[in-house]
Each structure stands twice: as structure tokens, then as C-alpha cells.
């Protein structure tokens, strides 16, 4: 009985995860190392990878900063009434429920060339949608809950006795945060950062809608894979896909490591 269950588990993992993952690796080297390098070193592939890198860095920085602040306010702020905090708290989760395509559509509707705000920005020569800023905003929207949801439970768990003690002893807000709060939320923040990087690296639907997927301009790594497949150029798609998959496996290892550190605390 026991053997059967373990065997079944292995079968599911091999069919659903391991075979597909190795198929990508084989596919990328189907035409040898040269074929792989050729697919990866195309100018549009390099540009797409650079765009993805820029988005990941910007989004992770912004959402880490605002996510930590938001979590602090939602747990600690006494200048917000409990009811408002409850409402805000449930709103934080909404991006989880929004399909990425719909997230992208929202931004096109709000900031697109035909909208009031978009028209204003267009007037002063600043393109939002079908340009880099829109892609960043779309990714910010999709990844916002990740950091907040990692940090909040830790803050709730540690309580605010220590922080109050520090404040009573005369420490100011920033000092209390740096010396008392930060050490205990550190690993939760690391875990949140890893999750945010993973999600913004792989974001596809929202970015596809917002970017317009213009080659060498607004194309990211994932939308390049999509376009290659649509153009029946699967071999070229494999190279970029393998790089993305390798990153994901690296992120997975980081996640394991951060989770262990978080649990120790």
C-alpha cells in the first residue's frame, strides 16, 4: 500500500514536472550548442532579456519598499481605524483574483491613449501604455500582494511588545524599525523578494496586453517566447525558454533556502 502511494507520487511528478522540464532543455539543444546560442544571441532576444531584467529590478525595489510599509501600517498603525484596516487588508489580495489579461486591460483603459490621464501624458510627450512605464505598472499591480502577505503574518506573530519597549526607552521610529523590527522580519522580506522576482520574471498576460509586444522595443522574454511560438519558430523559442526555466529553478532553490531561514526564526 505504502509502496503504491509513493510510486504514484513519483509518477505524477515525473509526468507533470520532470519530463516537461527536461524536454525544454533537450529542445533548446536540438540543433546543438550553436543553435542554442544563435536563438539566444539574436538582437531581439538580448533586448527582450534586458527589458525583463529592468522590469524585475524596478518592480522588486518598488514593491519591496511599499509592500513592507503597507504591511507595517496594516498591522501596527493606530492612526487607521480597525474597520479601514480590515477593508484595506482584503483589498490587498484582489490582484490574486484578477486574471493578468484583465489587469493589463485595466491599465490600457485607465492610461491608454484614449483615456483622460493617458491623453494628458501623451500631450506632454510621455507614453505610458505600449511603452516601458505601462509594463512596469502592470507588473507592479500583479506582484503587489506577495511582499505584504509574507511580512504581515510575521509582524502579527512577534507582537509589538519589543517595539513599545524600545520606544519607551527613547528610541525613535526609524531606530526602532532598524534595530527591533527589521531583524525579525528580515527573512520574510527575503522570501517576499524572491517571490516577487519570480512573478515579475514570468509575468506574461498583463505585460502582453500593455506592451503591445513590439519587437526590440517593448518585448520581454516571455512575450518573445510567445511570439516565436506563434511564428512557428519553436526552436528559437526554446533557447529563451531554457534561460527562463533555469532562472526559475534557481529561484526555487533560493525559495527553499529562504523558507528554511524563515522557519528557524
Amino acid at each position: 500500500m505504502r509502496r503504491l502511494w509513493i510510486g504514484l507520487t513519483y509518477v505524477v511528478f515525473i509526468i507533470l514536472l520532470i519530463i516537461p522540464l527536461s524536454r525544454i532543455a533537450i529542445g533548446a539543444f536540438e540543433k546543438g550548442l550553436d543553435g542554442f546560442m544563435e536563438g539566444l544571441l539574436r538582437p531581439e532576444a538580448l533586448h527582450a532579456l534586458m527589458m525583463t531584467g529592468l522590469i524585475v529590478v524596478l518592480v522588486t525595489l518598488l514593491n519591496a519598499l511599499f509592500g513592507i510599509m503597507m504591511a507595517l501600517y496594516l498591522v501596527r498603525a493606530n492612526w487607521l481605524s480597525r474597520r479601514i484596516k480590515g477593508v484595506l487588508n482584503s483589498i490587498v489580495d484582489l490582484p490574486y483574483a484578477v486574471s493578468p489579461v484583465i489587469g493589463g486591460l485595466m491599465i490600457v483603459l485607465l492610461l491608454g491613449p484614449d483615456s483622460i490621464i493617458g491623453g494628458f501624458f501623451e500631450g506632454i510627450g510621455f507614453k505610458v501604455v505600449y511603452a516601458f512605464p505601462g509594463m512596469v505598472i502592470a507588473t507592479l499591480f500583479v506582484t503587489f500582494p506577495l511582499m505584504v502577505r509574507e511580512v504581515m503574518p510575521v509582524l502579527q506573530e512577534i507582537g509589538h511588545d519589543q517595539e513599545q519597549a524600545a520606544a519607551t526607552l527613547g528610541a525613535y521610529g526609524w531606530t526602532t524599525f532598524r534595530k527591533v523590527t527589521w531583524p525579525s522580519i528580515r527573512w520574510a522580506v527575503v522570501y517576499g523578494v524572491v517571490l516577487t522576482v519570480a512573478r515579475s520574471l514570468g509575468e506574461f498576460g498583463a505585460v502582453l496586453v500593455v506592451s503591445g509586444n513590439i519587437m526590440n522595443k517593448t518585448q520581454t522574454a516571455t512575450t518573445l517566447v510567445y511570439q516565436d511560438v506563434e511564428n512557428f519558430n519553436v526552436a528559437a523559442a526554446n533557447g529563451v525558454a531554457l534561460v527562463l526555466a533555469a532562472f526559475s529553478v534557481g529561484i526555487l532553490l533560493l525559495m527553499e533556502w529562504a523558507k528554511k531561514r524563515k522557519d528557524v526564526q
Partner: protein, 288 residues
């Protein structure tokens, strides 16, 4: 020596200046309003905007967009395939969670970390994987075709894509509950003469149930929203293999944002209800 002392003194004074500077009330309020504004502008405003947008040209226009058979068939198909994928996931997810927690065997830690792979992997890459494995020209794809089964560009491929993307949810929701479950309870049931099956259904299953439900719901809402993996493997034929998110994308591409918005709020409202149910289930679980 003198220089060192001086530097320390300066550093101390600077430190003092820093704290008074940061302590200023204006900063506190500035921070607070920036964070709240960021939150409102990024999350609340767009969601609010899409509801306003789809009703801006009146109810009739909204109803027309929904009544389009291509639109409602896409939504229904999404729900149908999402339910199938979720049910499969509930079964294998519960089994895997059980095996990973209860049994010790070689490779267990590795499998346990592999569970999260679909979270970490870009969904477009996931779709490409399925295409490579089962698509035209592949070994399995041609084999299935010979037997008369069509997978890629047909409904089975969509279910497989949804299955892959939502794989971790049930496992990750059930695992903590199983960890907490006291093995003594099971043993008590055994010693009192209950059969294995009876113990499972009377003792183990009820304690896993909140996890199965909330994990299943999360998987379902993710399946409804899935786009990247599905768009690559679905044939996108209206009424047969066109799911809601791909339909919305098509409407945006063909410059019909109003139609896209109408279907979007149908899907959004459904997802919000699911989210609300999940949080209710979890709260009740916590209270119990």
C-alpha cells in the same frame, strides 16, 4: 588620533541630525500618504475603473456584449474546464500532500521543493513545454493522433495547462493541516476497531477538508484566470477551445475594449466571490 576623535564627534552629530530630521512629523505624514496613495492608485483605482468603464455606455451595451454567444460560451467553457482541472488537482494534490508528509522515502525533500516549480516557472514556458511534449510532430502527440485522440489545440490541452499551473495549491494548503494532525487520533481509531478506510473517512479526511476546499478554490480561481500557458496550447476556436482570458485578449487586440471589459467584470466578479469564500472558510477554520 585627534583626527579620529573629530570624525567620531562629527559622526555623532550627523547621527543626531539624521534622527531629528527623520523624526519630523511632516515626514511621517508624507510617508503615510505616499504609501496609501500608491496603494489606491495601483490597486483600487484600476479595479474601480474597469467596472465604471463597462457600465459607462449603459446597461444595454453591457448586456449586448455579454449576450454575444462567443463571449458567454467562452466564459462557460472556462468554468467547465476549470472545474475539471480543479477536481483532478484535488485528488492528486491530496494524495501527494499525504505521501510527502506521512512517508519517509528517498527523494522526498527534492519532490517537496519541486512542488513549487509551477509557481516559479513563467506560464508561457509552461505552455511551450506542453506544446513540445504533446504537440504535432512529438512522439506522444503523433501516438495520440493515431489512436484518434486529439490533445493539443483541443480541450484536453487546456485542462493539462490549467492542471500544471494550479498544481501546487492543494498540496500547499493540505500539508500544514496534516502536519498538525495528531497521529494518536488515528491510532485511537485503529485500536477501537475502526478499519483503515473508516479511519480515513472519519478522522483524517475531515481534518484535511478545510485545506482541500480552500486549496481547491484557489486552484479554481487561478485556472479561471490562466492565460499564458493556455494561449499557446489552445486552438482558440470560438465556442470550442476559446477560453475567457484568451477571448478578452482577442477583443483588446481587435480594438474592442468595451466588449473585453464586459466579459472581464463577469470573470472578475466570479473570482472575487471565490476569494471571499476562501477567506470565510479560512476564518471559520481558524475559529474552530
Amino acid at each position: 588620533m585627534v583626527c579620529g576623535v573629530d570624525r567620531n564627534a562629527i559622526r555623532r552629530r550627523e547621527g543626531y541630525d539624521m534622527t531629528t530630521w527623520i523624526r519630523h512629523r511632516g515626514w511621517t505624514w508624507g510617508f503615510r500618504s505616499t504609501v496609501l496613495l500608491y496603494f489606491l492608485a495601483l490597486i483600487v483605482f484600476p479595479i474601480f475603473g474597469i467596472y465604471v468603464q463597462s457600465f459607462s455606455s449603459g446597461w444595454t451595451h453591457f448586456a449586448e456584449s455579454i449576450a454575444d454567444p462567443i463571449a458567454w460560451k467562452a466564459v462557460l467553457l472556462t468554468i467547465k474546464l476549470g472545474v475539471i482541472a480543479t477536481l483532478i488537482n484535488v485528488c492528486i494534490g491530496t494524495m501527494i500532500a499525504w505521501v510527502l508528509i506521512r512517508y519517509r522515502f528517498p527523494g522526498r525533500t527534492l519532490l517537496n521543493s519541486l512542488v513549487d516549480l509551477p509557481f516559479a516557472l513563467p506560464t508561457a514556458v509552461g505552455g511551450l513545454m506542453i506544446l513540445l511534449l504533446l504537440g504535432p510532430g512529438s512522439l506522444l502527440g503523433s501516438l495520440a493522433e493515431k489512436m484518434g485522440a486529439q490533445i493539443v489545440f483541443h480541450q484536453p490541452a487546456i485542462v493539462i495547462a490549467m492542471l500544471f499551473v494550479t498544481f501546487p495549491f492543494v498540496i500547499r494548503a493540505v500539508q500544514p493541516l496534516l502536519e498538525e494532525l495528531d497521529p494518536l487520533e488515528q491510532e485511537a481509531a485503529y485500536t477501537m476497531g475502526a478499519s483503515k478506510a473508516r479511519t480515513f473517512f472519519k478522522v483524517i479526511l475531515p481534518s484535511m477538508l478545510p485545506g482541500i476546499i480552500s486549496g481547491g478554490m484557489l486552484a479554481f480561481s487561478r485556472a479561471l484566470a490562466e492565460f499564458g500557458a493556455v494561449v499557446l496550447v489552445a486552438g482558440n476556436i470560438p465556442g470550442r477551445t476559446l477560453i475567457a482570458s484568451v477571448f478578452i485578449f482577442g477583443e483588446v487586440e481587435s480594438d474592442n475594449p468595451a466588449g473585453a471589459a464586459a466579459v472581464s467584470i463577469l470573470l472578475l466578479t466570479l473570482s472575487f466571490i471565490i476569494l471571499w469564500v476562501i477567506s470565510t472558510v479560512q476564518q471559520r477554520g481558524r475559529r474552530a
